[in-house]
Symmetry: C2
Subunit: 479 residues, 2 copies
Amino acid sequence: MLGAGASLARLLRRAPPLCLQRRSRGGRLRVREALAAQAPGGDVRVQGWVRSVRSQKEVLFLDINDGTSLQNLQVVADPKLESRDLGFGSSVEVQGKLVKSHNRKQNVELQAEDINIVGPCDPMAFPFKLKARHAMDYTRQFPHLRCRTNTFSSLLRIRSKATAAIHSYFQDNGYVHIHTPVITSNDCEGAGELFQVETASKTSEPGKNPHFFNVPAFLTVSGQLHLEVVTGGFVRAFTFGPTFRAENSQSRRHLSEFYMVEAEISFTESLQDIMQEMENLFKASAAAILSRCQEDVELFHKYVAPGHKDKLDHMLKNKFVIMSYSEAIEVLKKAPEAFSFKPEWGCDLKKEHEKYLVKHCADIPVFIINYPYDLKPFYARENEDGPQRTVEAVDLLVPGVGELYGGSLREERLHVLQSRLDRLGLLDTYQWYLDLRQFGTVPHGGFGMGFERYLQCILGVDNIKDVIPFPRFTHCCLL
Amino acid sequence: MLGAGASLARLLRRAPPLCLQRRSRGGRLRVREALAAQAPGGDVRVQGWVRSVRSQKEVLFLDINDGTSLQNLQVVADPKLESRDLGFGSSVEVQGKLVKSHNRKQNVELQAEDINIVGPCDPMAFPFKLKARHAMDYTRQFPHLRCRTNTFSSLLRIRSKATAAIHSYFQDNGYVHIHTPVITSNDCEGAGELFQVETASKTSEPGKNPHFFNVPAFLTVSGQLHLEVVTGGFVRAFTFGPTFRAENSQSRRHLSEFYMVEAEISFTESLQDIMQEMENLFKASAAAILSRCQEDVELFHKYVAPGHKDKLDHMLKNKFVIMSYSEAIEVLKKAPEAFSFKPEWGCDLKKEHEKYLVKHCADIPVFIINYPYDLKPFYARENEDGPQRTVEAVDLLVPGVGELYGGSLREERLHVLQSRLDRLGLLDTYQWYLDLRQFGTVPHGGFGMGFERYLQCILGVDNIKDVIPFPRFTHCCLL
């Protein structure tokens, strides 16, 4: 048993430094660490929340969870350690010994010597019930408590690892990380859907500028223009932060505050460069999430979206399709379906069109490229297929979610950009943006990916409000 | 020379996947990769911005930078490749061979066969001049161009690596990463200094709720309360995102939008737990930054803040000091200095007091603990030294910067919190926060660190506006 003891000792040494053992007690182990202990033995302390209590005549079983893993640690105790407050949702500290478990589902269990109830939980008032599987639109009503359910705690672990995976992808591939600003004075992209910012204690004195920043200020809709600033001196830059839309929508696809992963690349040679990177990011991050959060992802693929695993595998193993906007319109025109909106060159693709195109591409994500000039913002690079006909822009459509990414080459030619901004009456506003072209301009482009939609796509979650800790949308800003 | 060729071939394979070699050309290398090539040879292509041009009778020297390192790649070319547009700030693509350099400062140089000017840069209009060392308050006027200067590009690389180091610290130590919301309906902490958010296209119809979210909504001042939600089911959580203050201050220490690193820990046993983690984070991240950004940090310690390296080493090698607020007041009262604000138990520490205390502690960072009850927010845990006398709160003061961190144990006792909120008239507003204590409460605490102030502390940068890409403050929201 020397090996066994040594193994536990190693685990205890790895226990977090916070563990101040002022009283003589066993070393503190996290549930994940306890479950990973191959060789039991030794006194330990485990803290967490009770996920189930089963009292039998001769033995009391508890399941303890502390958020470090989906799986609970089973505690086995003498029934005399039971008390009225030891219920579902209560917080406890259990001291005892890790022993080999008889239960085939787990390697070890905790043989309790003492159970200290840290905080009770009134089962009548607590909105979640023992052994109940609550629907997501029920748990969503309790944003301050839903991280105590299995599904949402899995989501938070996945979201955390996905965030780390995306940061790693960019750091490993030579991108500099930039905190693009949340508050911005740019107001020209989609003006009607912006949030405006002012001090809460506005005391505008007559004759004084009424704005805190002297100009109207808004919450950012994208960090792109600021990333373009940086790619005037760096070959690759990325940002991963909150973006905002004041859209009056309560759909399962929209939030007022959501996260965008945006990248900008200098010295690009074609739109292909950008698409390759979009596909690489999608697949590399998915691989990382699937390998680092296996158990948590399985919960979603088994209980939340049965059948989604195959759909995801299909996306990951196939090369993404590329189709021009003009081809897409042809495909839609030939479709046997009766669309509510007739597909017409020059019109935006509607949700129903996106759906059809993805199905047409055998449920493989599809890049739609070369959009009509008038459908895309001023910065998209004009193609050479006629004056103001198409631009080198791309959207990626994925099954279930629809538009996941948007991207484009940016207009790097000073005179082309200048005349477009002139026609739009924006020359003064974007003088700084023109400067980027005046001083050492380079061909460049980039993309943005909606992080919540990406999580929906990986996990098969239907409603975007279920993949973000604190959803904000029209009429709703809880907490 | 087989080894040499193999070494370059390996580097070329590592070149980013974006490199589409549609024309027959050398493989694309980043400046950092080229500089690291131990064994030169082979055709390569390097792209970047010209940092200097020196034309001699028989040879033309260029320095090329692409943001991947502080050091430039020296290009050696035949003077006939020179042209009018090949100037400081222009963007170029150079093809040639990497050869051993005669210059002792570098291992290799690029023997140019072709120089393609991608984007010229008019030296008269460009605000930065060749070989000039521009003061930071000069470059700050050009937020869209300053990443093209040595100092600010070093800052962006350091900031990026520091962000990664902090994320890694938390991921490696068992914290779940949480995106706490930017828009919040909590308005009670420091109400006067909040930014309020509404749709830009406000069309409040009579009889309809005038607010987009039905309630007044604000930009967050801290993610703490939301992290506390999460530590009701997870033992450790962190967030790293933008926070906001509508303070009417243009000081070198304040921004309207800045980044906070916040952590929350469950099952704490004393304030010591929190302080230990604050010190660990400070030192571990500093070690990572110093080792991963050696060259860039050296630039700051050599040219921006001479002498700062020793001050930093002194902070890193000493155990941080702990002093109670009451002791601190005693020290201040005995001080020979004439303060503008007389130190008095119950009053906030002013900047001059913080400065004196740090000096008193031999320029070692000092934790001030156990603040008067009335100086700290409602959530700080009350000590048992008398009714409403002190709370278990802590600030960390560091040389030069002042307050870098704030933290506390949180009041986890339902009845204590309830009566405090009741006295403040906030029972209804914070019912959800009380719920966290009603259902499985645990002793917990946490801290927040101002990321920009941390960078100032590591680098010795005097003005906070010089450590953030796009500073926002009263009267100023450029770009």
